[in-house]
């Protein structure tokens, strides 16, 4: 048995533990017959005593005891893990509809969905030539109707006033003839 082959087995002699196989007779015999290995083993035993000089020390501060999550959290958390992505998608969709001023209509005329995202067509602040012509024609028509009615009224008024005057003149003539 060579020294190099057995050195790693020195721990069997250093730590003669209960329940573990004791060092083999060959190993013990070699140690007894090899001064170099004896010195090395003695050095390791002395080192063990040296290491023991570094004693234990207390922790710097007490450990904070972890606490379990509240019962409600333990119940809701699995449920949240299932619904979180659909819930987030629903929130994003609602936010989009709200911010974009979306309008959804479904009536006799059909279904329509509009948003305020596209810019509305700007209405002109002036009338086109065709529009002006139409307006004037309407005004003229209204005016013509109004003028005709006014003239009729005036004529009617004149006629009645003229008739009244004629009657008054006729009465004056009759009175003057009777006096004569």
């Amino acid at each position: 048995m060579k020294c190099d082959e057995i050195k790693e087995r020195f721990v069997e002699l250093l730590y003669q533990e209960q329940g573990t196989p004791s060092a083999s007779p060959e190993l013990q015999a070699h140690i007894r017959s090899c001064p170099a290995c004896q010195r090395e083993l003695a050095g390791l035993k002395e080192l063990q005593a040296t290491l023991k000089l570094w004693g234990d020390e207390p922790p710097l501060r007490p450990t904070v005891i972890p606490r379990p999550e509240p019962a409600l959290g333990r119940i809701l958390f699995p449920f949240w893990r299932v619904v979180r992505y659909p819930a987030i998608a629903a929130l994003v969709t609602l936010a989009f509809l709200g911010l974009s001023n979306a309008q959804i209509r479904w009536n006799r005329d059909g279904f329509s969905f509009t948003t305020g995202l596209r810019p509305q067509a700007v209405q002109a602040s002036y009338y086109t030539k065709e529009e002006m012509k139409e307006i004037l024609e309407n005004v003229m028509n209204i005016s013509r109707q109004d003028n005709f009615q006014m003239m009729q009224y005036m004529l009617g008024t004149l006629d009645s006033a003229h008739a009244t005057e004629l009657r008054a003149i006729t009465r004056q003539i009759k009175e003057s003839r009777s006096r004569n």
Partner: protein, 182 residues
């Protein structure tokens, strides 16, 4: 206490933390070499224990399970702090025989006080690889037997023995480098 904790007893968990926090702290401290970091690891460890209690099948293996979680957090902490750091403090080499310090068990121990001794041993351990340092800490300081060391390190028993041996030799060499004769 562990069984009650596994059954959901909150008071049992509090008792468990108070019972084990000192050991977890000393494991993390010896691994990381920094007390503030070790305190952070203690907090993270018990948070993990609280969250993953259902993963513990055998209450009898609680100690090894706890230490494994602690070491995982130590490694994560070390990676977060400085991914390229391999040594906490570089070892100062001294010429053999010159200004040699001694850790021998003299009666008065007047050559070094306990803080200096602790610092020298800490430096010697920090000069080891993570595997060797872990094996030494688990065996020499945490009181695990060889099989438990292998279980925590998730390696065969023969590998754990090899790491322990080489770790002890490494500490010897490092102590000599910093001028200490034990």
């Amino acid at each position: 206490m562990i069984q009650r904790f596994l059954e959901g007893d909150e008071q049992a968990f509090t008792e468990l933390v108070r019972h084990w926090e000192a050991r977890v702290f000393n494991l993390a401290w010896r691994y990381l070499g920094n007390r503030e970091d070790a305190q952070d690891v203690v907090q993270e460890t018990f948070l993990s224990v609280f969250k993953s209690a259902k993963n513990l099948r055998d209450p009898g293996s609680f100690r090894t399970w706890l230490y494994r979680i602690t070491l995982n957090h130590c490694r994560s902490h070390r990676r977060r702090r400085s991914p390229d750091l391999s040594l906490d403090d570089p070892l100062q080499c001294k010429e053999d025989g010159e200004g040699e310090l001694t850790l021998s068990m003299t009666a008065g121990r007047d050559s070094l006080d306990s803080l200096e001794i602790r610092d020298l041993i800490r430096k010697a351990l920090m000069g080891l690889s993570e595997e060797h340092r872990t094996a030494i800490i688990l065996k020499e300081y945490m009181g695990l037997n060889l099989e438990e060391v292998a279980r925590v390190m998730d390696c065969p028993l023969s590998t754990a023995k090899s790491r322990l041996y080489h770790g002890l030799r490494g500490v010897q060499r490092n102590l000599v480098r910093i001028g200490v004769r034990s």
